[in-house]
Each structure stands twice: as structure tokens, then as C-alpha cells.
């Protein structure tokens, strides 16, 4: 087993990462003010992803850690993708077979949502 040497990251690196994070925040906020159609969604998620990567790699030291630790870092995200992916495999293909329902209440087993909840 490779002994873990704790990384000492310089304050300069932290500071630079912070500047980039704030610039990305500004960019993200600015883009949200414009109507870019579907690109609003793509831009916001892409920027959030880059911000997350920066934090994981530099602030949380994933970049400086052992391969084993990096596998541990990745595991949670991989499993999240499995869950999202397979659930979406249901929702994105619903109604693509003629005669089957897109929404689960369309077969009449329960009433469709109303404006006034009956609670």
C-alpha cells in the first residue's frame, strides 16, 4: 500500500481557484439574465460542473491524492449517474409505444391533478 503523503497545497493555488470560482459565479448569474433558450440550462449546468470539478480537484485535494482515494471520490457520482440514467430510461421512453400511457394517471385509476387539491 502506498503510504498517504498529505498534500500541502500553496495558499496561492487556493486563492487562484477562488478567483476562478467567483468569476464563474458571475458568468453564471449574467447568463441567467439573458434568454438563450435551451442554452440557459446547458450553460448553468456546465458552469456548475466546472465549479464542482475545481472544488473536488483542488480544494478537496482529489488531484493530489492516491488513485484509491480518487476511486472513492468517483464512486458516489458514478452511482448517482446509474440511478438517474436508469430511471430516465423509463421516463424518456414512456408513451413511445402506441396505446401505452405517458403519464401514470391516464389509465383512469386515479383522478388527474386538479387546481384545487382535495386535502
Amino acid at each position: 500500500m502506498t503510504p498517504l503523503t498529505p498534500p500541502i497545497v500553496t495558499r496561492k493555488t487556493y486563492f487562484r481557484v477562488w478567483i476562478v470560482l467567483l468569476l464563474l459565479l458571475l458568468l453564471n448569474w449574467g447568463l441567467a439574465q439573458l434568454d438563450l433558450g435551451p442554452f440557459n440550462l446547458i450553460a448553468a449546468l456546465a458552469i456548475a460542473f466546472v465549479q464542482m470539478l475545481l472544488m473536488l480537484l483542488y480544494l478537496m485535494h482529489a488531484r493530489y491524492n492516491t488513485p484509491l482515494t480518487r476511486i472513492f471520490v468517483a464512486a458516489g457520482f458514478i452511482w448517482l449517474v446509474i440511478m438517474l440514467d436508469l430511471t430516465l430510461s423509463d421516463y424518456l421512453t414512456r408513451g413511445s409505444v402506441p396505446g401505452l400511457m405517458r403519464k401514470s394517471w391516464e389509465h383512469g385509476a386515479w383522478p388527474a391533478p386538479t387546481k384545487e387539491p382535495s386535502h
Partner: protein
């Protein structure tokens, strides 16, 4: 130790002259020394008390149900009470017995011993995990005692939030808390197996029980949080009447099923992988042969854990899930059968031309192989889309998962408990009674659950307290078998307790087994080993040529 080459080559330092105090003696016998202990061995025993308690509650619920089902008409309990009985039985068995049974009791006890460590990586978290488990259990008991829950262990929406007026919230809270106990246990095992292995203990020298425990821990850690959050959503919907799954408010009950089964299907593997691990220890020891295909057995555990996350949709074939999605889930479900079959083949190949000793743990292990195969093969029936629609929600499904859960896991648990009992307590149990109980359990189990396959195939739906008269024969058989099974479970409870005081003293290695846990006294000292062992040999170095004197009680 003569014929079995000792797995370790402890260094040349002479053993200390004074006998080491056992973990019972060191630290004292006071209640405080148990309730505040951070010793993994003592925590394992604390878990044993807890799960026996919950098993008893769930078993009583099962007994009442079987009594009701002797006659076709619902004459003993009302349908509401029956709903509560099967909910108590399911929820308690799953979360408060099966999931912690092997990992938390036997795993806690033997994992550090097997890797040659002094304790788990986070002993205080381990104790916290036991307290969380009992706190969760207490809430579950509260819900049962003050009115019960009638939703079934699955808490299907929108019934559980919008319609059921029973104690869903406290039950769900109990399971939420117990879930964190599972997570902490899994986390502890993963980190310990990674960082605390003794010098020389490489991954491919690990006993196979550790591979399966590791695979189980992956599931515990990555699936349980999703269940926790899903239950939070159910409780929130019930308490505040907000719509997240309730279709009247725009929610989708099918989403609940997706999230619930994302946990609960992998959880099925939490409830079988550890049993497989125990069997992989017992079979080589009592057939005096190295395990056949070590690497295949090891990797099949990990493969089951991984593939287990891709199949949850097979619980939802009739829940208005998309057909394409159902096809994907169905195919993936067939894939899981491959690593499971690999294990069965390897166990049988290990038996082939071995010198087989039919001791109690071995009887249970052989029973496990047969019953697990029955359960596994009918699982393949259920993975098939067409057949699944035919038997969905019938006793066929009930029989299938009881063959896995009871025939597999409970049998595996008893195999492990008997196998490590001399190590845990330092006492031998009466061997003849042990064999008798194993036989009774095997027979009783099959009489209970085999008729359920038939009656399910014929169309008897599950979860009803009354049924059509033509199903009575099967139900009477089932109830009769259940009483035999009950006797089978009482026997070990009695003779194991008896052995604590009156059993013969156990030598360090009564089964002449390999593995580090057998290289230390029975019961082990507080820090497990007099000095850190150094591992130089492959696991399971047994030779069938040599006749062994196994020590019996």
C-alpha cells in the same frame, strides 16, 4: 496444528508466558463495560441480542399469519389486523433482522480477526451504529405496539401517505435511523479492509467471507441513503400533505417505486451476499479442500453487488413503467444470475473428491446451496417479462424470496453462527443436537415454502387473509411446515444458550480450519492477537488426503 499448514508464520518471539485475558474478562463483566465498549467482538454480541429480539417479534407475526391461513375464510383476525401482521413481519425481518444479521453480528466479530487487525478502523462509530440500530428498532416497536402499520414493508405510494391512517411516520423514522446504522457499519468494513490488513495479507489472500462482506458494504453505503431520502419524502407528504408522489397533486407514484427499489433491490443482495461468504468459508473447511476457483468466487461477489444496481425495474413490470425500460431491466436481471451460478458451481466443485465432514455448519451450508438454487432459478422465471405478469403479486413471488431470504440467508447465518460459535464464546455446542436442528429446519422449510410455489402459480394472490377453498390443501401444508420450522429455530436457541455454561471448552481451532481467526485463542483476547500476524500463505490450504480429528461438543 498438524496437517493443516498454519496460514500464518508468526514471528519467532516466544509467546508470553501469562495466558492473555479473553475479551470477556478484560474490561470486566459490568453492564457499563458492555454498553460503552468499543471492542468489535463485544459489539457483535450486542447486535446478536438485538437481532434475536427482532427475529422473535417478526416470527410471532409470521406464526399468526400461518394460523389464519389454515382455513380459507378470514376467521381468526380481521383483514386490517392481517395487513398489520404482514407489515410487521416484512419490515422487521428485512431491516431489523436480515440486513444486520450476518454483517453486523458475525461480520463485526470476525472481520478484524480475519484481516489480522486489533479492531475496526472506527470503533466508536461502530458502537454508535449499534445505538442507532436500537433507536430505530425502538421506534419500530413503538409503531407496532401502538396500532401497527398496514402498508406492507414496501410503503407503496400513494396508499402509505394519502390513505393509510396507521403509524407510517414513526415506522418510517425507525427505518431511516436504522439505515444510518447500516451505512456506518458498511463504511467501517470498507475502510478497515482497505487499511488495516496485516502485513502480507494481500487482496487475493483475503478469506472469501471478506470479499462478500466488502461487496455487501458497497451496497450498504451507496443504496441506503436513497432509501433514507425516499422515506423522508413519504413522511413529508404524509405530515404536511404536500404532493411529491400523490397523483392528486401532480406527483407520480411510480417515481416512488423507482427510488424505493433502487435501494431495495440491491438490499436483496445485502441479504444474500454475506450468506454466500459464510458458505465459502464452511465448504472448503469441511470438505478439506482449497476452494475451487478462488478468484471467480471473489469477483463474483463484487459482480453481484455491481449488477444488483441495474435490475431494480423488474419489481415494476406491471407498474406502468415504459416497456423499453422493462426490457432493459429484464435483461440485466438475467445477467445477475451468472455470478450467482459461478458461485454454486465453484462450491460443488470444491466438494468434488473432498473429504466431507457432515458437521452442523456443513449441513447448513449444503442446505444453503440447494435452497439458494431453488430461489435463484425461480428468480429467473420472475425476470422474464411474460411469466412475471402471470405470477406478479402471487405466492410464487413469496416462495421465491423466502427461498433466498430464509433458505439462503437464515441458513447461512446459522451456518456461520455454528462455525464461529466456539471462537465467539469459547464453548462447543452439542453436535448431535446441532445436526438434528439443521435437518429439522431443512425439512420444515421446504414443507412451508414449496407449496407456496404451486399455489402461487395456480393464482393465489399474496397479502390476503382469506382465499379460495381450492387452495386450502397447500396452505395447510405450509402452516404445518411452519410449525416444524419453528421447532427447528427454537432448538439452536436452547442448546446454544445451554452451551454457554455447560458446553465443553473449545480449543483455538476445533475445525482445524485455516484463517487468522483460528490462530488466536477461543475466545480471543481483547486485541485479538498476541502480536500482529504476518501472512505468507494462500487461504484455504486444506488437503483432503489427511484424516482430521475435528473437536465436537
Amino acid at each position: 496444528m498438524n496437517a493443516t499448514l498454519p496460514q500464518t508464520n508468526t514471528s519467532e518471539i516466544p509467546a508470553p508466558p501469562r495466558r492473555l485475558l479473553t475479551y470477556f474478562e478484560e474490561g470486566g463483566h459490568t453492564l457499563g463495560s458492555w454498553l460503552l465498549t468499543t471492542d468489535h467482538k463485544r459489539i457483535g454480541i450486542l447486535y446478536l441480542y438485538s437481532i434475536v429480539f427482532f427475529f422473535t417479534i417478526a416470527a410471532i407475526a409470521a406464526a399468526l399469519m400461518r394460523m389464519e391461513l389454515v382455513t380459507p375464510s378470514g376467521d381468526m383476525v380481521t383483514s386490517e389486523t392481517y395487513n398489520k401482521l404482514f407489515t410487521i413481519h416484512g419490515a422487521t425481518m428485512v431491516w431489523f433482522f436480515l440486513i444486520p444479521s450476518i454483517p453486523s453480528v458475525l461480520g463485526n466479530f470476525v472481520v478484524p480477526l480475519m484481516i489480522g487487525a486489533r479492531d475496526l478502523a472506527f470503533p466508536r462509530l461502530n458502537l454508535l451504529s449499534w445505538y442507532l440500530f436500537n433507536l430505530g428498532g425502538l421506534l419500530a416497536i413503538y409503531s407496532i405496539a401502538f396500532g401497527g402499520v398496514d402498508t406492507g414493508w414496501t410503503f407503496y405510494e400513494p396508499y402509505s401517505s394519502a390513505f393509510s391512517n396507521t403509524h407510517v411516520v414513526t415506522m418510517v423514522a425507525g427505518i431511516f435511523i436504522a439505515g444510518f446504522s447500516s451505512i456506518l457499519t458498511g463504511l467501517n468494513f470498507i475502510v478497515s479492509i482497505h487499511t488495516l490488513r496485516a502485513p502480507g495479507m494481500t487482496w487475493f489472500k483475503l478469506p472469501l467471507f471478506l470479499w462478500s462482506t466488502y461487496a455487501t458494504s458497497i451496497i450498504l453505503v451507496l443504496a441506503t441513503p436513497v432509501l433514507a431520502m425516499t422515506l423522508v419524502l413519504v413522511a413529508a407528504e404524509k405530515i404536511w400533505g404536500v404532493g411529491i408522489f400523490d397523483p392528486r397533486l401532480g406527483g407520480d407514484p411510480v417515481l416512488f417505486q423507482h427510488m424505493f427499489w433502487f435501494y431495495s433491490h440491491p438490499a436483496v443482495y445485502i441479504m444474500i451476499l454475506p450468506g454466500m461468504g459464510v458458505v465459502s468459508e464452511v465448504i472448503p473447511c469441511f470438505s478439506r479442500k482449497p476452494i475451487f476457483g478462488y478468484h471467480f468466487v471473489a469477483f463474483s461477489s463484487v459482480a453481484i453487488a455491481l449488477l444488483g444496481f441495474f435490475v431494480w425495474g423488474h419489481h415494476m413490470f406491471v407498474s406502468s413503467q415504459s416497456v423499453y425500460s422493462a426490457l432493459v431491466f429484464s435483461m440485466a436481471s438475467y445477467l445477475v444470475a451468472v455470478p450467482s451460478a459461478i458461485k454454486v458451481f465453484n462450491w460443488t466443485m470444491t466438494l468434488y473428491r473432498g473429504r466431507i465432514y457432515l458437521d452442523t455448519p456443513m449441513l447448513y451450508a449444503l442446505g444453503f446451496i440447494g435452497l439458494f438454487m431453488m430461489g435463484g432459478l425461480t428468480g429467473l422465471f420472475l425476470a422474464a417479462l411474460g411469466f412475471n405478469v402471470h405470477v406478479h403479486g402471487t405466492y410464487f413471488v413469496v416462495a421465491h424470496f423466502h427461498y433466498i431470504m430464509v433458505g439462503g440467508m437464515v441458513t447461512g447465518f446459522l451456518a456461520g453462527l455454528h462455525y464461529w460459535w466456539p471462537k465467539i464464546t469459547g464453548r462447543l455446542y452439542p453436535e448431535s443436537l446441532g445436526r438434528l436442528a439443521a435437518l429439522i429446519i431443512f425439512i420444515g422449510f421446504n414443507i412451508t415454502f414449496f407449496p407456496q410455489y404451486v399455489v402461487g402459480y395456480l393464482g393465489m394472490p399474496r397479502r390476503y387473509h382469506a382465499y379460495a377453498p381450492e387452495f386450502q390443501l397447500y396452505n395447510v401444508m405450509s402452516s404445518a411446515g411452519a410449525s416444524i420450522l419453528g421447532v427447528g429455530y427454537l432448538l439452536p436457541l436452547i442448546y446454544l444458550i445451554w452451551s454457554l455454561k455447560h458446553g465443553k471448552k473449545a480449543p483455538p481451532n476445533p475445525w482445524k480450519a485455516t484463517g487468522l481467526e483460528w490462530q488466536t485463542p477461543s475466545p480471543p483476547p481483547k486485541h485479538n492477537f498476541a502480536q500482529t500476524p504476518i501472512v505468507t500463505q494462500e487461504p484455504y490450504q486444506y488437503s483432503p488426503e489427511i484424516e482430521e480429528e475435528l473437536v465436537h461438543g
